[in-house]
Every structure is written in structure tokens, then in C-alpha cells.
Amino acid sequence: MAQTRPVTIPSSEYLEVGPRRSRRARVRNLALIAGRNKLGAIGLVLVVIVLFTALFSPFLQRYDDARVFQTANPNFNPTASPIEIAANPGIGSPTILDRWERPFTSKHWFGTDQYGRDIYARIVVGARLAVIIGIGASAIAVLIGTAVGLISAYFGGKIDLVTQRFVDSIQAFPGLVLLMLIVSVRDQPSLTLTVLALGFLGFASSVRIVRSSVLSVSQSMYVEAARSYGAGHARLMLRHILPNILAAVVVIFSISIGLYILAEASLSFLGLGPADQTTWGKMVNSGRFAIDLHPWESLFSGAAITLAVLGFNLAGDALRDEMDPRLRGR
């Protein structure tokens, strides 16, 4: 659309890019950015925590996330007849589930859920899922989006028209409906299917941004020059245009990770998340039916989603401001 956007002029302390920089200079530069962009620094810390948890979850989770904790039933009577058990159900089973244990004890840091599973272990495992889904979906969206956007904008004409209408029609869907539809292709959606669905949804918006970047780059002198000495389509696209839109691509990638984590949480919350996996969205959902008496499962998992998304959003925003401030507000 004919939308004019004022160009933000980089501040004077803009990141200096020189040829060879010593490691100390690079560290100092990073510290400079962190000092200037405090929110970004907070985001980076959160992202590092989430990535660390995801990477080392087997060592951090303390218990298996599916392990059901139970204690011996002191009232268990092995010789009780069925009639006696019916009259007094407390004596029928040799063990009792440790349901809804309180949090902040040395045994269960975050307490247990309704089946007696350790909530801390499940949160740690959920971090791995969130990272796989967020980064996986974003990578797919950006890879396909860049390829399609590049070709669509470079060749223009009919290809461009058809591609853009296709993108329009994906964007005319409410995102969640499209996700629900794709994920339902299997009765039990797998993790791969969830990641693919999210990537497909995100591909539309990355095509948009890549396309507009390519359109402005392909007008430049150096592309014209390369064309004049006989560079082919592939060479023009890959060697001359692609490197110059890479900043935008990296920004789209990092800025949308949080969105995918959020979208997956919504799907899981609706019961359409990846089957047989422990995700934060599912935990919020299963905890909410006992929210009045035992709110801990929902509270911890909801807080985990919020902090992870917050971290990826803030870090992504900071990266965008450093790399390409013109993408602000897209």
C-alpha cells in the first residue's frame, strides 16, 4: 500500500562496524549495546536461561516428567472383601497418589499435579518443547518465506500476482483457525506436524517482508551494474540481492520465535497440541479445572510461557534495533 514510513536515523552511538576487531573490542561493543538497550539485555538473559534449560533438561529435571509419585497407604487392608472396600474406599488400594503436593518443598520444588507428577520436571521438559517449536517453526517460515519472497519479487509479473494472492488468502484466515485445521489432519497431532503448521502460518508474513526488502534492493545501482556485465538470475538473486536482505531475514527469524511459542501454547490449551508431549499450554489447561484450590500447576506453567515469550520478544526487538531499525513496527 502507499504507506509512507519515516526513516529512523541511527543514533550517533550507532554500532561501529570495522574490519578486524579484537575479542576485547567485541566484548566491549556487546557491553555497550547491553548498557544502551537494557530491556534487550534482560531479554537475552531470559533467552539464555530458556535455551540452557532446553539443552540440558535431562540433567536439570530431577525426576522423569511422567513419573507418578505415590506413598504407601497406611489403611490398606489386603484381606478386605469387595463389600468392605465399597463401604470404605480408603482401604482398597496399597498406595495413594501424591496429588497436588504443595510447592517449595525440597522433594517437589513446584509441587505435584493431579496425577502426582512433579511440576518442576514437567516445566523443564516443556522448555525443550517450547524451544524446538519456536525455533523450528521460525526457521521453516523464514527459509520458505525468503525463497518464495525472493523469487516473487525478483521475477514480478504473474508469478508475483499469484503468490501475493495466495499470501493474502492465508492472511485472511484467523491464524488459530488455520492452525486448528492443519493440525487436525492427524487424529493425534505429532510434534513435527505442529512445527510445520506453525511454519506454514508464519511463512505468509515473512514473504511479505522479504518481498518488500527485495523490491527496494533490486532498484539499486549495484544490482543494475551486475546485470549489465551479464550476471544470470541465480547469481543476481543469491550473490547480489540475498546478502543485502539478510539483516531483515535474521530479524524476522528472531522476532517471531516468541509468537510461535505463544501460538503453540494456545493450540495445546485447546487440546490440539502435539500428542504424548509435555507442553506448557497443556499444563495450564489441565491445571485450570482445580484453579480455586490448587492453582500451582497453571501458575507455574503460565509464568513459564510468559517469561520465555518475553525473553524472545525483548531479545528480538533489541536485535532489530541494532541491525535494521527501519523494520520497527512491521
Partner: protein, 319 residues
């Protein structure tokens, strides 16, 4: 301008045809159809093949796929959104029961978004880098990062723990017929949805306000002796609102998604829950029709926003 509108309308028709085809292909790719589900739920483990075949024939699901597609498109062209397999009622009449509810909630969500986002965005920009700015921005950043269902859950928890009110609702109350129980039903989802939307509005409005406040005409307005509040509202806010409008147009899809979640969570009998239920029971005609209707609303709103843009900012010309 007229040419532009006509071209956009034609393109929208093309987009809607794409959407309809996508929904048709996608729903037919799903495992299990309504006939199988209905038969499986009524008969036990006896031989169901004949019963399924009969039900398929009855619903027209045994026709070749291209026939079904042509029928579907033909119905759409005449404004027929199909009939529910389950109830036999037309999609339009099913939606007639639910659209008012969804609109009520949707309007409330948009209202809360603006009521939260605009004042906070303005204050935050005017008091840039003051303590209040940092606090408000922190709130907004959290608002964007929190899933809407988590906000709703926290609000419900607060209502329960502080015993603010009892949620004792029977049926589907409307704001105009039973305002008290409708208010109880809608207050938590409306605030939860509004916080998510308002946080987004606040962030854009703040950056736009900061941009606008540096312009020369703001200095001129000040030099003329206009009071601060006048400068902020009449000169700065008006110009900063344009991008906010565009973004609101684009976030309609998000609001619809939020409504699916909130309506399911709070058992509100609206379009979002209808869509979810119909997908789960594989009752496709109403599902397809509803998705198409929502898509039509979204593309129309985007067109209206673009036109409003040109009307609000005469420098923008479409050709």
C-alpha cells in the same frame, strides 16, 4: 479512487475463492468424516460398513470430490453457506443465534483495548523516560507476552480468591436483555482479551507519538500558545493514530483467535466455540461457511482501513 476500490474488490473476490478452496481441500484431507463419526457413536462394535455407506449417501459424501467442490462453489455463489449435517439447519440460521454473542464480546474486547491502550500509550510517550513510562512499558511488554488464556485464568483466580462475585449463569444472557448476568459472563474474557490487544496498541502508539512530537508543527502549535493537553490530543494523538488503525485492522484475526479460546474457556455460546465444535465433530459445511464469512469480514475490514487511511491523511493517494 473508484477504480482503485473496484480493483481491490475484485482482488478480494479472488482471495475469498482461494480461501474457500483452501478450506475445502483442507477439510477433505482430515481423517474421518461426519458419517463415520455419527455411526460410530450410535452403533456398537457390530458391522458398521453398510450404515456408514447409507449415511454417506444421505449426506452426499459419496459423490466424487470434484462434484462436491462444484456444488460447494455453486452454493457459495448464491450465498448459501451450506447446511449442518448434525442439526440439518442452515449455517446462516445457526450463525444467527451466535453472532450477537460474539459481537458483544468482540466489541467489549476492542473497547477495552482502546480504553487501556490509548491513555497509557499517550502518558508513556509524554512522560518519556520517567518512572511512570518504565512501569507502563513493562506492563505492556508483559501484556504482549502473556497468553490470553493465562490472563483470563489469573483474573478468574483473583475473582475467586477475593470473592468479588459469583458466576451463576444460566443459558446465554445478552447485554440488552439480562445486563447483570451478561456482565458477569463477559467481564473476565473482555478484560483478558482487551489487555492483550491494548498492550499492542500502547506500544505502537507510544513510538508513533514520540515520532510525531518531534515534528515542526508540534513546535508551532506550542509557539501559538496552545495548552499542553490541546497539543497532545488535537495535534499529536490525531496524527499518531493512523498506524494504530492499520494495526487494528490486521489484528482482527488475532481477536477472532482469542475469542475461540475465551469462548471455549468460559462456555460462551459464540461463533468461536461453534467453529471449534464443528471442526471436532467433522460437521464441515457450517465450519467452511463460518471460516469463509470471517475471512470476508477480515478482507473487508482491511479494505475499509486502507480507504479510511486515505480519507484521514489526504497526502495518501491510491491509483
Amino acid at each position: 479512487m473508484t477504480n482503485y476500490i473496484i480493483r481491490r474488490l475484485l482482488l478480494n473476490v479472488l482471495v475469498l475463492w482461494f480461501v474457500a478452496s483452501l478450506v475445502f481441500v483442507a477439510t477433505n484431507a482430515l481423517p474421518g468424516d461426519y458419517a463415520a463419526r455419527r455411526v460410530a457413536s450410535t452403533l456398537d462394535m457390530t458391522d458398521q460398513t453398510a450404515a456408514i455407506e447409507y449415511a454417506r449417501h444421505e449426506l452426499g459424501l459419496d459423490k466424487p470430490l470434484w462434484r462436491q467442490y462444484l456444488n460447494f462453489m455453486g452454493d457459495l455463489a448464491t450465498g448459501d453457506l451450506g447446511k449442518s449435517y448434525e442439526t440439518g439447519r442452515s449455517t446462516w440460521s445457526e450463525l444467527g443465534d451466535r453472532v450477537p454473542t460474539t459481537l458483544e464480546l468482540g466489541v467489549l474486547i476492542v473497547f477495552v483495548s482502546f480504553a487501556v491502550g490509548i491513555p497509557i500509550g499517550m502518558v508513556s510517550a509524554i512522560k518519556q523516560n520517567a518512572a511512570s513510562d518504565y512501569i507502563l512499558r513493562a506492563v505492556a511488554i508483559f501484556g504482549v507476552a502473556m497468553p490470553v488464556f493465562f490472563v483470563a485464568l489469573l483474573l478468574s483466580l483473583a475473582v475467586i480468591k477475593l470473592s468479588l462475585f459469583e458466576i451463576d449463569i444460566v443459558g446465554d444472557p445478552h447485554l440488552w436483555s439480562e445486563p447483570v448476568s451478561a456482565g458477569k459472563l463477559y467481564v473476565i474474557p473482555a478484560i483478558a482479551g482487551g489487555i492483550s490487544g491494548g498492550a499492542g496498541i500502547m506500544r505502537i502508539l507510544r513510538s508513533q507519538m514520540l515520532e510525531v512530537m518531534r515534528q515542526d508543527y508540534i513546535r508551532t502549535a506550542r509557539a501559538k500558545g496552545i495548552a499542553d493537553s490541546g497539543v497532545w490530543v488535537r495535534h499529536a494523538l490525531k496524527n499518531a493514530m493512523l498506524p494504530v488503525l492499520t494495526v487494528m485492522g490486521l489484528t482482527i484475526g488475532t481477536i477472532v483467535g482469542g475469542q475461540i479460546i475465551l469462548e471455549n474457556m468460559f462456555n460462551i455460546n459464540g461463533v468461536g466455540r461453534f467453529l471449534f465444535d464443528k471442526l471436532n465433530s467433522r460437521d464441515f459445511p457450517p465450519f467452511q461457511g463460518t471460516v469463509l464469512l470471517i475471512a470476508a469480514v477480515i478482507v473487508t475490514v482491511n479494505l475499509v482501513v486502507d480507504l479510511a487511511y486515505a480519507w484521514l491523511d489526504p497526502r495518501i493517494r491510491y491509483s
